[in-house]
Amino acid sequence: MNPLVRWFHQLGSPPYFDRFAARWAPWSFGAGALVMAIGVAWALNLLAALPGVGAWFFVPSDYQQGDSFRILYIHVPAAWMSMFIFGLMAVYAAIALVWRIKLCEILAMACAPIGAAFTVITLATGSIWGKPMWGTWWEWDPRLTTELILLFLYLGVIGLYQAIDDRRNAARAAGLLAIVGVALLPVIRYSVVWWNSLHQGQTIRMFGQSSMDPSMFPPLIAMVIGTKFWFIGSLLLRARADNLDREAGKEWVRERAAAQEATP
């Protein structure tokens, strides 16, 4: 068998996944926290105080927005994550529906609360940013509205998952909703293009010509990477908890719990 396929099959077994998640979740969190700390420090020009190399780490103020633009380093990564996680959730859900892999059900459902949290962060930071920029917390602008609807979709997935009694059916039903909801993602992405919008248009491009000052880039990249690690950490943690909960009463869970008690 292809080693990758074999590894995937192995990972699908609940005890193996439990061990895998227990091992890697702390590392992911650690890496995420570290990279994000660097990114924030960089963005706030804390690193610029470093002796000697400080100038390398200087991020200038925006010529229009002054320092308030620095909230971008939370807002934009969170916004990207909110959409990325929804897509990932739908992919897991589709795999779970077609091949009935239980681990994928668990992973898909573990995505939802994390994605919802990122969506809330996007909305909150956007609102905070909007007050100085547009003079109002909220506007019925296409991008803002579609992001709010993304939150509703997340809440719908979570609500449906909790409303159904049997966990596997619940995960499959909620997964189907997630797949249907994917249609919203391009609407969010291109809302600024399709309708005339208050919101900033496509300014940042990872590849090709970007309309942002190059010195503003590196902290953003750090934040994007940091949030990814952080997400992997919480995904593993949540999936592990759900996995243990579903398997409660099985032999290996009892063994592991006993081992845990033996070594406090």
Binding site: L97, T145, I149, F152, L153, L155, G156, G159, L160, A163, I164, D166, N169, R172, A173, L176, L177, V180, G181, L184, V187
Partner: protein, 240 residues
Amino acid sequence: MNDTARPVRMAVAGQPPSMPGAARALLVRDLRLLWRRRGDAFQPALFALIVVVLFALALGNEPELQARVAAGVLWVAALLAGLLALDTLFRGDAEDGSLEQWMLAPVPLAWLVAVRTGIHWATTSLPLLLATPFLAELLHLPRAQLPVLLAGLALGTPLLSLIGAVIAALTVGMRRSGILVGLLALPLYVPVLVFGAGSVAASAQGLDPVGALLLLGAGLAVALVVAPLTAAAAIRISTS
């Protein structure tokens, strides 16, 4: 008579159902039920009327203000009426066990779902569509915008019904889905509303509303194929 691909030893000579036959049986049944409860056919239209009246009352007596919000209010009323009627799509059949028999029938579940959704649209949204010119008049909608509004509703309400069928199917296993249906359906309804209400707004500003209407039509075409299949899958998941 025995025409399965892989022959089953059919002990009993009989007539298997055909897809048109099953659709006709479903149609006859639903029309009979509707006739038994004639009043129910007008309920969605009445509900929309009440929403419109509530709005007119809540806004106070300002015809000019009403005219500006008329198209929006009518779209929201249609949407809410459709939402409320959603619960009757499969729930009755689930509670008395009919849905089990649908799943066990030798015709595709998606076909039954599609037929049922069609009948449901014709008996709940169509009356509303017919009442729209009257409701529009109540809210002083400018006459010129009426054709656009009607075209939008004619394309949009079947789309809403099809999207709603998926949501209704997802929640059919639950005892009391209550407001959850609304929570799940409305985000998916939003694009329809945006394009529907947007087309009227465009025509009010003298712009061309055809683009938005075409998008609604494209959505409808896609949903006609995809929604029944998805809803059938959802029914199987949520009733097991």
